[in-house]
């Protein structure tokens, strides 16, 4: 290995030079940080400053510490991919976070000095990440499901020049969309139902040599990792074929909520009560025969149709679907138009509680009103079929009275979507909302289970707000109603987004780089197996199923499946997991580098471990906005709260810190954690820290965990101030001076 050469640069631009003694800080880097080459510069991110660093790198510097602005700022200027890089945050983290007063000067300087000590210490423990040697070979996209989402994904992948393998369980492509007579319009003027366009999509896919289509086929097994998935496809003949795959889009759609679960709404009691799919069938049959849609019971003329919205949906009793499927209001409007467009004399009434029409549905709704579709705000209590006619009893929610519609020839129930997301890996016996026991779709051979983890109501888990297509299995993207209920327009948009993410994942794997959210990260977890006690914590806790187990239950890391969250590193009790540039040591060294004043100094030290995704940027932005906070905190960004190893906490407390604040994202069902489970796992681990504190005879207040959002620009400094007051109250740590 070539010699390691360390260099540090202290910038005095952006007011840093006026607020702190940069020369003293530079001296600290040299003397305490033991950095051989230390330079000061008045304007480090200028071309002159950057050239200076480049020159040193050219002359052999392998490790560079930059004491200037936040690691989140000037990332382009300070982009030196060939060296290990540490940043001391003197601007956002020190001078902007502190008032410019004479009293504050001393503590502000101490802050700056410590951050430089920390950066130097971190740098000493860092290695330049070399990239995952297990690079991918394939960039083909496997699309599971040949409905409108899957077909769209395939077409979009082809437009970008990627090969596709499409697996469809049914004999025909097209899914639900192929069963519709027409669809809700997706273009101006949003006035009438339009052709589904599914024929064109099927043609585009089947006529393209770049798409290999398997119908009547399922996935017998999926193994491997992004860039080198191996899909074993069970095909019609009973044989199986293997395909090498780069990334996967799962577009397995939904099943309709079974209307037979709604006998109170007349389902099963009369052929004149149908669900929306049933009405589509009637409409297609009518078109084929050239007749208007007729009454199923006797083929009689339809004069009156009632649409019952939210049938078995938004249910509070716990018997039916608790959620809104979001597409069915528009569908009923469309179906009412089937009748009105053919014959305006047919009475069509839509009974709804809230009409929810996403997209341009408002125009479509208005168009239906123009056509004379009657909309009644009410909740249907029961449907009573009697001979060829049905009576619909409902509560009129505007007039607040019981009402009824008599003599309806057809009643259409707007039932919802139940996700086809495969088995519940946490509960093998779980049934879906229709009471059916799902079978596995992906048949992953992962240690953590065969299918995508679910979140709520049986939909595949995906980061709802920020990264909707990212599931908890790297390289596998969910699109369409498998991840949340949606209509055709949304499913097509979803499929387009998901397939682009899939392509990105496949390409990143070719370069040995991480996919989202640390896209491009070359570091990956390394494990020192000779120290491993086979406790399985890492294999269980990895939120992304990246770690399998060998016969002897040692962990087997699949680096391309890893998101680089470090949760495994945080979980490992014997600390044998690390990243080249992020490890128990890189953070531990920073913790130890801080200068801890003695018990009588009245200068407590509070360690802040802040999630780099939300909490750390929020602190930066708070400072930018001039929201000051205590000079006693020392902030260390962590990849995820899940990566926090309890040794850091005990080291800090043993080392004389007076308190530890941990700041991560919201967890739970509506989590915001970028690594899904990281902050939840950290909170779980920290709930056990109280025991440790007691054995150390320390107050439980000395460790506190917070849920922080990126918007908490006012709250965060306040949290710090409040915590500083708590420390002031319980007093300085008795552990100082023993380390």
């Amino acid at each position: 290995m070539a010699d390691l050469k360390y260099a540090a640069y202290v910038c005095s631009g952006c007011g840093i030079g006026e607020r702190i003694d940069a020369a003293q800080t530079a001296k600290i880097a040299e003397k305490e940080g033991k950095i051989a080459l230390v330079r000061q510069h008045p304007f480090l991110c200028s071309s002159d400053g950057v050239a200076l660093i480049r020159k040193d790198i050219g002359e052999g510097a392998t490790h560079v510490a930059i004491a200037a602005c936040s690691r989140r700022a000037k990332t382009e200027a300070f982009h030196f991919p060939s060296v290990a890089l540490a940043r001391a945050n003197l601007r956002e983290g020190v001078i902007w976070a502190r008032p410019d007063t004479d009293e504050a000067r001393e503590t502000t300087q101490e802050m700056a000095d410590d951050y430089v000590r920390m950066a130097c210490a971190e740098l000493k423990k860092m290695k330049l990440p070399a990239g995952n040697p297990e690079v991918g070979r394939s960039t083909r996209i496997l699309v599971v499901g040949g409905g409108i989402s899957g077909l769209t994904a395939a077409v979009e992948a082809r437009k970008t020049g990627y090969e596709v393998v499409l697996v469809e369980k049914q004999a025909q492509l097209g899914g639900w969309a192929a069963k519709l007579w027409k669809r809700v319009p997706d273009r101006e003027p949003h006035a009438a139902p339009v052709d589904t366009g599914v024929r064109e999509l099927i043609d585009a896919v089947t006529k393209d040599a770049g798409v290999k289509v398997y119908t009547n086929a399922t996935l017998a097994q999926t193994s491997g990792a992004p860039g080198r998935f191996n899909a074993t496809i069970a095909i019609e003949s009973g044989a199986s074929v293997n395909e090498e795959i780069g990334a996967i889009v799962q577009a397995t759609g939904f099943s309709l909520y079974d209307m037979n679960r709604l006998p109170e709404l007349g389902a099963g009691k009369s052929p004149n009560v149908v669900d929306q799919a049933g009405l589509e069938k009637l409409a297609r049959e009518a078109e084929a025969s050239g007749q208007p849609i007729c009454r199923p019971s006797d083929g009689g003329e339809v004069k009156s149709v009632v649409f019952v919205q939210c049938a078995g949906q938004r249910d509070e009793s716990g018997k039916h679907l608790p959620y809104c499927s979001g597409y069915c209001c528009n569908t009923s409007i469309k179906q009412a138009m089937y009748f009105k467009d053919a014959n305006p004399a047919v009475d069509t009434v839509v009974v709804y509680t809230d009409l929810r029409v996403p997209g341009n549905g408002e125009d479509f709704y208005r168009s239906a009103q123009h056509k004379g579709v009657v909309f009644t705000k009410g909740k249907v209590a029961s449907v009573e079929p009697d001979g060829n006619a049905c009576t619909v009893n409902f509560r009129d929610l505007i007039l607040d009275e019981d009402a009824r519609i008599e003599g309806a020839d057809l009643v259409v129930l707007a039932t919802g979507q139940v996700a086809n997301a495969g088995v519940d890996i946490e509960n093998a016996d779980a049934t879906d909302a229709n009471g059916a026991k799902p079978i596995s779709i992906l048949n992953l051979n992962y240690r953590q289970g065969k299918d995508l983890p679910k979140l709520s109501h049986g939909f595949a888990d995906s980061h709802f707000i920020c990264f909707p297509y990212e599931t908890r299995r790297t390289g596998i993207y969910a699109a369409g109603p498998v991840r949340r209920p949606m209509d055709i327009a949304q499913a097509m948009e979803d499929a387009t987004g998901a397939v682009l993410k899939a392509i990105q994942a496949a390409e990143n794997s070719q370069l040995g780089r991480s996919a989202h959210p640390r896209s491009g990260d070359l570091s990956f977890p390394m494990v020192r197996l000779d120290g491993c006690t086979q406790c399985k914590r890492c294999t269980v806790e990895c939120p992304f199923g990246a770690i399998d187990e060998d016969e002897k239950t040692y962990p087997v890391f699949n680096e391309s499946r890893c998101r680089r969250c470090g949760t495994c590193m945080g979980a490992c009790p014997v600390r044998v997991i690390s990243f080249e540039n992020y490890s128990v040591d890189t953070v531990g060294a920073q913790i130890k580098a801080v200068d801890i004043p003695d018990e009588f100094s009245e200068k407590p030290r509070i360690l802040v471990l802040a999630c780099e995704n939300d909490a750390y940027p929020a602190l930066d932005m708070a400072a930018m906005q001039g929201n000051h906070y205590s000079a006693f905190v020392r902030v260390i960004p962590v990849r995820c709260l899940g990566s926090v190893n309890t040794i850091w906490i005990t080291d800090a407390l043993n080392g004389g810190y007076d308190g530890v604040m941990m700041m991560g994202c919201k967890h739970g069902d509506d989590y915001q954690c970028h690594f899904v489970k990281g902050s939840a796992l950290a909170t779980e681990r920290m709930s056990k820290v109280d025991e440790t504190l007691k054995t150390m005879s320390l107050e439980t207040e000395r460790v506190a965990t917070y849920e922080v959002a990126i918007t908490d620009l006012k709250r965060l400094p306040q949290l710090i101030e409040d915590y500083a007051k708590v420390i002031d109250k319980i007093g300085m740590s008795p552990m100082k001076g023993f380390a």
Binding site: Q369, G372, V374, F375, I398, L399, A403
Partner: protein, 207 residues
């Protein structure tokens, strides 16, 4: 008038919405209401009447013909236009309210004892007779609407206002005899008659 009601009933069997669309001024807008309730929340008379515009529209769609046409709500509308300005669906609500009132009156279903209905009739009669509003007669007509004793009481209560107007020359006591008229009284009446005929035809009342 009863006959006219029978006629309408026969023609529109059960379909009150269609009846309103054809026969009520701006009635074709009723179907466009999306039941947001903004009008109900905007109307200064909201707490005072039985049915808000939103409810009236819902009742029309629910076929509640008798209840709608005999409602006092339309008669209470002061034409403030708050609802029209705010309705996100841009329904001409005020016009529909007056249209419904007129239609109910024509069919003989309007609430007989409603004071604003009475005032409306009084006013219309007063101003179309001569082409000018005779304020003295209008005021006295209003006071004595509910009978002689009630009229005397009201007139007595208002005596100072009347006296003040008299002193300021704003009230001519001789108006009680004949009152002023417009130049072409017969012309005005012919014009109104014609307008009435056109309206009859357009709304399908004329044979």
């Amino acid at each position: 008038m009863g006959a006219m009601n029978e006629q309408a009933l026969a023609k529109y069997t059960n379909n009150f919405l269609r009846e309103v669309e054809e026969r009520v001024e701006e009635g074709e807008w009723v179907k466009m209401c999306m039941q947001c309730g903004v009008c109900a929340g905007s109307c200064p008379f909201g707490p005072d009447w039985e049915h808000s515009p939103q409810k009236i529209f819902m009742m029309i769609r629910a076929g509640k013909r008798d209840e709608v046409l005999s409602s006092d709500s339309m008669w209470m509308c002061t034409s403030c236009y708050n609802c029209v300005v705010r309705c996100p669906r841009e329904l001409p609500i005020t016009q529909i309210m007056h249209g419904l009132a007129t239609y109910a009156q024509r069919l003989g279903l309007a609430p007989k004892m409603n004071p604003t209905r009475k005032f409306s009739l009084l006013f219309w009669d007063n101003c179309t007779r001569t082409g000018r509003v005779n304020e003295l007669k209008l005021a006295l007509g209003l006071y004595f609407m509910d009978g002689l004793v009630a009229g005397i009481k009201k007139a007595w209560a208002m005596r100072n206002t009347g006296l003040g107007l008299l002193m300021a020359g704003r009230l001519n006591p001789f108006e009680i005899l004949k009152g002023h008229e417009c130049k072409d009284k017969a012309g005005i009446q012919r014009m109104l008659k014609k307008a009435y005929e056109i309206e009859e035809k357009r709304r399908g009342f004329a044979k």
